[in-house]
């Protein structure tokens, strides 16, 4: 009996191997990434996400969408890697750098030290980083003027609130997150000074704890606020959960999303608007500059309203009154013109 | 024709092989209507395998089982029950919180609609109980009745299912002397009423008392079938172990020396705060064996654990050579010269997943020569184990096999070798022969007596009265955490001891 079991297993292995290799070959032909009649380019661009994934509905996803657009438009070969542990970030960067990629993107401030190290070890490789500034001659840094976008959602919040009380939920109290808060406050102040005084701010010290986001939101809503702007990654999911529960109980509360149009994820019944960062635009713009040696190595590119780097979500008109949106456009022009300078710290 | 019908169960050439061993080798056996047949054999001789085939738990590789003159295939226990075979196992299979009746009908409840019809069951149980003198109270909760009564519930269970052939596996192992007497009477009554009984046992005395015939099995083979009336216990024992065995313990009268161990007013509470020992006092002299007789659970374990430092003493004193020993750690106690053959060799006496070598040094591994600078000296340890194996005749494939793989007798020999070779002044032996067979038992008894003769104080705790009467020089009876009597083997007998153990007879009676 025992012998039979082994034979059975061996046989099944052999059959499976054959089947697997056969199917594998078939798959290759229909691989959509390889097919199509897109223009050809020799350029290869890689992306290393931070400890998230390209499906995070946030800037990792946005960055990958940018690269995909680049592939479709220019025929550039693109590829991403998702490190699961801190220790995997450097090997993943190296995978591209040592694999001869023309440009390697890294998303997120947590990538700052690894990018700096890899850039130093490989002076001929080109890297680019989002949301952090790396001072190295072969690294292009991209910073977003989040305060400008936050100003606009602040205007919306200030004009939409019924209770004249607002809230802000941040992740770690980092300079980049602080910019959201400061810009938001300035926007509210410009249209509704009373609400600006009643702005409740909570930093959860965490970007990935849904429970903390939920309890922070609960605290703020209990205090009478009806709109929360969050800049806290996954933690913000908790803010949306709390809002959804309250909405079902008949409370008229809203959340303002961040980074991407979060109404697409959490529904427009609770998402008033979102402050979106066009990471895709930044990735496309900077990557394109590889051609013709215009790559901004060693420089920091600031992406604000003017550069289409930040904006309010295009779906905002669903929940935001038209007259409020008019007001938003007014402020947008003023900021682009330089009539208003939004504070950042 | 009539002779044919007389035989209710016949085994013809039953053979059962397990890989590497023939457990039963062409066994022939006949059970006649209304007789009690004893099945005698050492542990591992193949008695249980044989009965498991009869009861449908194993399938024979060769041979046939005939019932009432018909060959049958016994493929499941339920088939066996259907054919009128019932088995009372050594370990009862009762549900403690259920009543006697509920336990008996469990699995074959008669129903009226959806409701259980217990009334008619109670009636039937009462009838059977009266007929066979079982004295069962159908409404008692099993939790609250004695072990002997539980066994009768087991017997009732199989009678209730209509069994005519009753198999008992070591039925007296768990009973007190009084209960044993009662059980044997019940068995005789059952046989007189026409039931046929097979009793598996290695206790010669019981066989002599109730069995009509005795079939002896050794190493899977039937050695002989004897008419008990004309056989001697010595003959049975000899056939069982295959050589001459002396059944009575040879010993010279003790010559006690000075008082070595003094226990005064010992109180011990268990983990839940219950008083387990309430003022126990006694002493043991060098060169004598003091036996502690008593029914299990009357404070014996606590007494042993207190004496060996394994359990905290609440109050009172334990002195050895005048030095206070109460509440010292087990290690200090053992280093002061106390040897301990524990009651439960699997739980305490051995680390079953350690090798024979490792178990041989369980109490000496930490000192030179077994370890130096914290490093185990494997050569010395192995030599120690080899020495034990040699001088105590421990049957093992080697020093590096796991203790778990040895038989109970050989496991016990490791413990005895280790404890005796440590050369203690005071040796505590708790149930030292439990589960051992005749040959091993006499070996253990000889060792204890040799220790006594070497001037050691020996404390023997046992639930087997034979053992106490044979081996001890002085007997203390423990009941409910107190010493309720003191006597000597020559001044008492099993019946008197039994009554003292049940707390029904004071110690003073032994003086009279």
């Amino acid at each position: 009996m025992k012998k039979k079991g082994w034979l059975l297993m061996l046989a099944s292995v052999m059959v499976l191997t054959l089947v697997l290799s056969g199917c594998g070959a078939k798959n290759k032909e229909t691989d959509p990434a390889a097919g199509g009649s897109a223009p050809k380019s020799d350029l290869k661009v890689g992306l290393v996400t931070d400890l998230g994934s390209v499906n995070d509905k946030s800037f990792n996803q946005s960055a990958w969408e940018g690269l995909q657009k680049l592939r479709d438009e220019k025929g550039v070969s693109v590829k991403y890697m998702e490190p699961k542990k801190d220790a995997e970030i450097i090997p993943n960067l190296n995978q591209f750098v040592k694999g001869g990629y023309d440009l390697t993107w890294a998303t997120g401030f947590t990538m700052m030290d690894p990018v700096k190290q890899i850039a130093g070890e490989n002076p001929n490789a080109k890297l680019a980083i989002i949301d952090a500034e790396v001072k190295a001659p072969n690294v292009a840094s991209v910073l977003f003027q989040e305060h400008e976008g936050s100003f606009l959602v602040g205007v919306i919040a200030g004009l939409t609130t019924k209770t004249n009380k607002l809230g802000f939920v941040g992740g770690l109290e980092l300079p980049v997150i602080k910019r959201f808060e400061v810009g938001f406050r300035a926007g509210v102040e410009a249209v509704n000074p009373e609400a600006a005084k009643n702005l409740k701010v909570i930093y959860t010290a965490d970007f990935s704890r849904v429970d903390k986001g939920k309890s922070a939101a609960s605290t703020i809503y209990e205090g009478g606020a009806d709109i929360i702007f969050h800049a806290s990654g996954m933690t913000g999911n908790g803010v949306f959960n709390e809002a959804k529960e309250r909405k079902q109980r008949g409370e008229n509360v809203w959340v303002i999303g961040v980074d991407m149009d979060q109404s697409l994820t959490f529904g427009d019944d609770i998402t008033l608007t979102s402050m979106i960062k066009r990471v895709d635009n930044a990735v496309i713009e900077i990557s394109k500059q590889l051609e013709g040696d215009k790559f901004p190595a060693g420089k920091t590119t600031y992406m604000g309203l003017k550069e289409n780097g930040v904006d309010i979500a295009p779906t905002s008109k669903k929940n935001v009154a038209p007259e409020v949106l008019e007001k938003v456009e007014e402020f947008r022009t003023k900021i682009i013109n330089g009539e208003i300078t939004v504070p950042s710290e | 024709m009539t002779a044919q019908h007389d035989i209710v169960l016949e085994l013809k050439g039953l053979t059962k092989r397990f890989p590497g061993i023939v457990a039963n080798d062409s066994i022939d056996l006949q059970l006649r209507k209304g007789e009690i047949l004893a099945l005698l054999g050492e542990n591992g001789a193949g008695k249980s395998t044989l009965m498991n085939m009869v009861f449908g738990l194993y399938q024979p590789d060769e041979g046939e089982i005939w019932i009432n003159g018909q060959p049958v295939s016994m493929d499941t226990p339920s088939k066996a029950i259907e054919l009128g075979i019932g088995m009372v196992h050594q370990h009862f299979k009762l549900v403690p919180p259920f009543t006697v009746t509920e336990n008996i009908v469990l699995g074959m409840e008669t129903k009226k609609g959806l409701a259980l019809d217990l009334k008619s069951s109670v009636q039937r149980i009462q009838e059977l109980s009266d007929r066979y003198n079982l004295n069962i109270k159908p409404h008692a909760v099993v939790d609250t009745i004695s072990v002997g009564m539980q066994q009768r519930v087991e017997i009732m269970k199989i009678l209730y299912r209509g069994a005519d052939i009753l198999i008992f596996d070591e039925p007296t192992a768990v009973l007190t002397p009084q209960e044993i007497t009662e059980l044997l009477a019940i068995l005789k009554g059952l046989a007189a009423e026409g039931k046929s009984i097979i009793i598996i046992t290695h206790k010669l005395k019981e066989i002599m008392e109730i069995a009509d015939r005795c079939t002896v099995i050794r190493r899977g083979k039937v050695i002989d079938t004897l008419q008990v009336a004309t056989a001697s216990p010595e003959a049975l024992a000899e056939r069982m172990v295959g050589r001459n065995v002396s059944l009575h313990v040879d010993k010279e009268p003790a010559t006690p020396g000075e008082r070595l161990v003094e226990v005064k007013d010992l109180h011990v509470k268990d983990a839940s705060g219950q008083d387990m020992l309430r003022g126990v006092s006694f002493d043991i002299r060098a060169g004598e064996i003091v036996g502690i007789a008593g029914v299990d659970g009357n404070g014996q374990s606590e007494l042993i654990e207190a004496l060996t430092g394994m359990m905290k003493v609440d109050s009172g004193s334990i002195r050895m050579n005048g030095a206070e020993m109460a509440n010292l750690s087990p290690r200090v106690v053992s280093e002061s010269g106390v040897g301990h053959i524990p009651q439960d060799r699997h739980k305490h006496g051995l680390v079953l997943d350690f090798t024979v070598s490792e178990n041989s040094v369980l109490k000496s591994y930490y000192n030179s020569p077994m370890s130096k600078l914290g490093i185990l000296q494997e050569n010395n340890i192995r030599k120690e184990a080899e020495r034990f194996i040699e001088s105590y005749d421990i049957r093992t494939p080697g020093t590096e096999v796991l203790a778990r793989s040895l038989s109970g007798g050989n496991q016990q020999k490791i413990i005895i070798a280790r404890e005796i070779e440590a050369n203690p002044k005071f040796l505590i032996a708790a149930q030292p022969t439990r589960g051992l067979d005749v040959g091993a038992i006499s070996f253990v008894h000889k060792q204890l007596i040799a220790e006594r003769d070497a001037g050691k104080a020996v404390l023997l705790v046992s639930f087997e009265l034979d053992e106490i009467l044979d081996v001890a020089d002085r007997i203390l009876v423990i009941f409910n955490g107190q010493i309720v009597g003191e006597t000597t083997p020559s001044a008492t007998n099993e019946q008197k001891l039994g009554l003292m153990m049940a707390g029904k007879l004071g110690g003073e009676s032994s003086n009279g």
Partner: protein
């Protein structure tokens, strides 16, 4: 010669086959899942192997990812052998990294001394954190699993507080760097492995692996540990202090965990990040110990397997676009089968051979006395 023979004998044991079949089934089921998901399993495994041994850099990084698994495997195995479940290695890792970071960042010492001191302090931090579990178990009777899990989170938040209060690097979510004098990098090996982050922890880990086997089998403390692990009652009877042994076991177990954190700080990252969760290495250690059957050689092989699989999974996603989760799944399947050998016995009728063993053990009875 005898050594070789015993090594070969290992492969006659059922448990070894269970491990091998588990690994095999894990990879096979992983392949089927990839196939169903529209990926190419052959290409995936090929790219995985390439990633593991493709070039000196990857070999070096594979080794680097195996090392902590060996240590956490040892940490879990020591506790297992002592009859306890150390699910708190995660927290002990964090405490070790705090200890190493404090010494590495604040103290000014000559290079080698600084390194040694940081390692010792990191190990002791982890050890004491582990001993806390043992103490709560022996003095308060709290099950170690409960305390371990709670202390994992406590350690994580302590690390947040320590970093934030004493050595936060401005503008980031991590601590300041350790000083170079505390680094345990091995420059010549790093060069040799083309920049892979190999460090002295490698040597120490290998020594600890040998030390584990020696301690467990050749010392009286190992004897006590094993005795307590297989039977507390028998150990108590033998005069072994069960509580003391539990404390010692958890201290050593915790030190192994502490060393993981120490090496990550001194050799890999140079800083401690404010992380939302613990590393997960401690949990991986449970799998390693389980598959490695708590033996030194088994732990080495199991850690090598899991480390290589996990590092190689990045190659899978690079070369064949297979998500890394697939490899996590493969690992889980391996653990599942290794932990539930009954399943495999049913599948392959291994049962017969075990019954044979039982019977032959029983068979000894009849030839005894």
């Amino acid at each position: 010669m005898a050594k070789l023979k015993s090594f070969i004998n290992v492969f006659k044991q059922e448990s070894i086959w269970i491990s091998i079949i588990s690994i095999f089934l894990g990879l096979l089921i992983g392949a089927i899942v990839m196939l169903v998901g529209g990926y190419e399993p052959i290409l995936a495994y090929q790219s995985m192997i390439e990633k593991i041994v493709g070039n000196p850099y990857d070999i070096g990084e594979t080794i680097r990812s195996i090392m902590p698994l060996i240590l956490t495997g040892l940490a879990v195995a020591i506790a297992f052998r002592g009859g306890m479940f150390n699910i708190g290695v995660e927290g002990q890792i964090v405490m070790g990294s705090i200890g190493a970071l404090l010494v590495g960042h604040f103290l000014e010492l000559p290079p080698i001394l600084h390194t040694l001191f940081a390692i010792v302090v990191g190990a002791i931090f982890g050890g004491l954190w582990g001993m806390l579990v043992a103490w709560l178990k022996t003095s308060r009777g709290i099950n170690e699993v409960v305390t371990c899990i709670m202390l994992n989170w406590s350690a994580l938040y302590i690390s947040h507080i320590v970093v934030r209060m004493f050595m936060m690097e401005e503008g980031t979510a991590r601590s300041k760097l350790i000083q170079d004098s505390a680094s345990i990098e091995m420059p010549f090996l790093i060069q040799w492995f083309d920049g892979a982050r190999i460090h002295w922890g490698f040597i120490i880990t290998m020594l600890l692996l040998v030390g584990y086997s020696f301690y467990m089998n050749k010392t009286k403390w190992g004897y006590e540990l094993r005795a307590v692990g297989s039977s507390k009652h028998a150990a108590h009877y033998a005069g072994i202090s069960v509580n003391k042994t539990i404390h010692r076991t958890f201290f050593i177990s915790g030190m192994m965990g502490g060393l993981v954190g120490t090496f990550e700080i001194l050799g890999v990252f140079k800083y401690l990040a404010i992380a939302p969760t613990t590393s997960g290495l401690g949990f991986d250690g449970i799998a390693v110990a389980l598959l490695g059957m708590n033996t030194a050689i088994g732990i080495l092989l199991a850690a090598a397997l899991f480390g290589a699989l996990m590092y190689g999974s990045q190659g899978m996603s690079f070369g064949a676009d297979v998500p890394g989760e697939v490899i996590r799944m493969v690992v889980s399947i391996i653990i599942f089968f290794a932990a539930a050998p009954g399943m495999l016995r049913v599948l392959f009728q291994l049962r017969r051979s075990t019954r044979r063993k039982e019977v032959s053990a029983r068979g000894n009875d009849s030839v005894s006395h």
